[in-house]
Symmetry: D2
């Protein structure tokens, strides 16, 4: 397992006397927000200007928290939004109008059209003029991210599933058959809001599918990205399962390959796509991606496996709160501001 | 959740003054053996004649244990074999020769030919003259079980996966496309023998695929049963995942249906197959099979879900030590001896 | 491990054609209420007349649920109250006034005086005329329970701690030094109401003391019972710890013994107190009480251990939802109605 | 929760161009050894000269591993010994003879006399001429550590229990009454060697006392240190409990205070003892030490709580693999070599 601290030290030595950006964090006390706060506190180019919470007055390390309504938006160069869907987009619009850059961790800016958003989330889009937004999965396409005024930061399911498919779709290797993503997710993915399904006694000892098929609202987001790479790739069958672990996300993806493709060629495509990526590792043959590879780490891992006939299996694991949320947001921030992509992450 | 105890009371009133069979249990201290011992101790038609262990001298409840070499085989009417593959078959042969009936929980009698056994388990078959043996998955086919001199009792992965496919294969509804079974299994499925992969610290916080694709040795057993029902059904892609829970097994199965089939027709087939089955419940629409439905219970549950296009999803859950091992063995014993199928189980 | 079902069968054969009592369950969907519903459904002398829930309309097994306000109180012979403190006592008073017997699982009837209740729970007592109520810990004193019109059923912490001390206090063996009860409790003890401290992610990986010293509201209840047995026994230091397990409660109790007492004599006192008790087992020397001895069982276990000098250690374990709540309530019901004490429990 | 990384950054800027020591790690693949390897890999004054394993050839990050017999002992300036008791002392003696400094994480050098070692561990001491060794609990007494040729590094139970008692014993505040330490320990404390008691299925759902009273072999080590500070302090009653968590150790300590002492004065003593300590934090009133305060961190925390009468409660938590083993070893190494005490730890 790569211990991130050493690498970071090396990284930092290479950083010249560097700019410090004032950042604001909206929603600093949820699981994602708290993880983000820790990453930002250790980031050499960041000073936390403010952080918000509607309930708490003080965060970890004694950071003062203010309600959103009292947040000094314009005191920040960049704001990170860890707010509920439907709320986040409105703040994003205000920030953009005020010249403050935005990394939005909600779903509000992820879909390209307000119509698809309304169909998926069953509400009016709070800021349709910001669509389509640059999509912050750098391993998919980072061209729009440097200098972006705002970035839509994808979540854990979308990130893990796309990391398993990007090299194949980019090469046009997928058939039109359904692509199956069977995911296993830790409970922190459900957030910190109180609900019976997230109570210890309910989760303990259980493994539970939920919203399987095409009913989960991440399906349109995954297909939107996938079909940009390969328009004739098949539809997604998406089956998330809740497992009794706090953090981690594993997507086991089953896809069929066009004639001319096999596991060896797929492996080449993955290496071509990810060998230069600092935050995605392709596992050697025989190794499966698992929670322990990535929990409490900022990178993701993918493994490739023989299925049957033209079916390939890809295992893809990330820490849902890090590469699936907060550390991806820092990665996007770094790209946005022209910093080395992995500052504060390795 | 259906509380089984009440039902049992009703059941038992219907049982006439009934025979008591002397049974021997080989391998009584493993996780399966210990579960079986508890079920048998509560079974009204059973008296435990002997139980074996190579290490312990006394089991739960103070039952005396003897080494296999000292077991009084012929004192039993029926023996249950919870022994390692390769060892079990030899004892089975000895018992059958001595006129003692056998329920074998090992893999030794499950494959129809010695050749397939040798290819799969990489050893000589210990008792080829017993093949093919009656296959003890009653919901698949119970015709050969009443009066059988020996029965091969399938294990947890095979049972859960086949319960998800039987109604479709029986109706010829499957296409020739690969069938995907993504399973999540509790740690007791790995048995009680000491290995690093089963240590608490290794498993805690992890979700881990293992032997995925077509390399797991249960693949031939599942396909053997499946292709008897529907010879032109596709090959199996089998992907087990270890989860940090003690008992439970969930198979999430993805299958494509022939033209003319849809979810509603599949649901009819499942009800036709299982409505009269005492130990398999078809869940109502919208309910997913999960560990909590079946842990510490003797029955299995299956749920049906829309996928995409012609792809259907079936969730199938059992307690790996019960319907996936020990309680299925009791069910087979009941059928073998002409007892009501669920005595000691409801 | 004693398999309870067999024993029950024996028990039941001995029961003559027996009365069936109509019971009502208030608060049937909490963790205690649901456990009680399962026990009552299997109880041969019980028919469930009604069950209440403010939120759900249907319980497990399809039992219809009504709000408290619509519960047909007088249709029941006996009601079980699994309601919040402060609410329960009022229903108890109404039931008693209507001639309906009561087993109250709340704290409302456990303290002998309204003054102590008000001091402890910081509210007016809802039914002071019912105090003092018969205290439903049969192993402490069952004389007042047969025929009682209402019984205060103690909870898990009180039961486990008292089971560790009753034989010593009854013999006057305790000194006036502080008695230390360090308890470890499963999360279901905190109930099913939504709170951050009971969320999976908060509890996972943690062991956490709470309300330690003399601030926990169970201290007065334990001391009330203890000092009736031995008025000059020392005060209680009570230190509960939340552990990441669903059910189970272990009290590790440290007590000093008067001159003339040692571990051997203490052991005799425990055997004298509990050998005839059907629901408490004294473990043999060298065995420690642990969660696995009691989880999902109706009995408790106690172990005795050498400390230092005059200090003895007693380990005492119960299932917090069973001997610490629901099965104790059934035990009290059986005593109240003149049934064999363990009907429905062994 | 205090995030250590930020602090480290500040720390490191203060470090002058600094020496690099070659270190060898004996036993690099156990849970402690692997944690130590990660800490050392990130330590700016360390270069790993070699690491040993009898089974593996390659550690995390691809570090080459050699058997002990092939380890180039003299190539190191300092060796860390994560070896079994009885083996470690022999290597320590060889290293010292060769002029290589030693931090011994086994128990071999912790007791002051060979006689007490033989009585406690029931074997001959492997290196009696090294006794008594400097005892590496810096918060107890760091005077003997700078420049030491070898240091006995105490383990998790001893560290957590002593951290709860040092300020009181140093002030002579303890009475002669038994001192009770009720500890809760994560499973990694039992090490990585295969045993049934450490298997997932055995531990899951259980809380289990073991070796309670005065039979645990850490009792003499704790009392040895305690009675040096206050010779007339009472004996220790020590009660460890295994909990189903991977890392963490919580000691809940109950002690009686001499006349003139109360909680407020005790709190002053703790602040006097620890306010200048970089790796021990005294929690504010009302806060209890818990696993989540310290898991995956290098520091410990202590909380103080009112008991009854003269009885005080101290909660003391550490990560058993860090402040209870590997990070304490680094702290001792830093002191030994004249480095700032917390290099590589904050």
């Amino acid at each position: 397992m790569i211990e991130t601290h050493t690498a970071r030290d090396g990284e930092r030595e290479a950083v010249p006397p560097s700019p410090v950006y004032k950042v604001g964090v909206y929603g600093a006390t949820g699981y994602t927000g708290a993880t983000l706060m820790r990453l930002l506190a250790a980031h050499p180019n960041v000073r936390i200007a403010f952080a918000t919470s509607e309930s708490a007055k003080e965060g970890a390390d004694g950071v003062e928290l203010v309600p959103v309504a009292e947040a000094p938006l314009v005191s920040a160069d960049v704001v990170f939004l860890c707010l509920p869907n439907g709320v986040s987009g409105g703040i994003a619009a205000k920030a953009v109008a005020a010249g403050v850059r935005v990394v939005d961790l909600s779903a509000d800016l992820r879909l390209d059209t307000a119509a698809l958003y309304t169909k998926t989330y069953r509400m009016e889009h709070p800021a349709p003029h910001l669509l389509p937004a640059p999509f912050g999965l750098p391993e998919l396409d980072r061209t729009g991210l440097p200098g972006a005024r705002y970035i839509a930061n994808p979540g854990c399911h979308v990130t893990a599933t796309l990391l398993a498919l990007i090299p194949l779709a980019r090469a046009g290797a997928l058939t039109g058959d359904p692509i199956i993503a069977d995911t296993k997710t830790g409970v922190s993915g459900a957030g910190k809001s109180l609900k019976l399904d997230s109570m210890f006694v309910e989760v303990y000892g259980d493994v539970k599918p939920y919203n399987i098929g095409r009913v989960h609202r991440h399906v349109p987001e995954i297909e939107q990205a996938l079909h940009k790479l390969q328009p004739d790739a098949g539809p997604l069958v998406f089956a998330p399962h809740l497992v009794p672990v706090d953090v981690g996300l594993l997507a086991t993806v089953y896809a069929r390959l066009r004639s001319g493709w096999d596991l060896a060629r797929a492996r080449e495509a993955f290496h071509a796509a990810y060998d230069a990526e600092p935050l995605v590792n392709v596992l050697p043959p025989g190794r499966h991606a698992r929670f322990k590879d990535v929990a409490h780490h900022n990178h993701g891992v993918v493994g490739l496996h023989e299925g049957a006939g033209d079916t390939i299996i890809v295992t893809s694991a990330i820490d849902n709160l890090r590469k699936g949320a907060a550390s991806q947001a820092v990665q996007n921030f770094n790209l946005m501001m022209g910093l080395p992509e992995t500052v504060g992450l390795l």
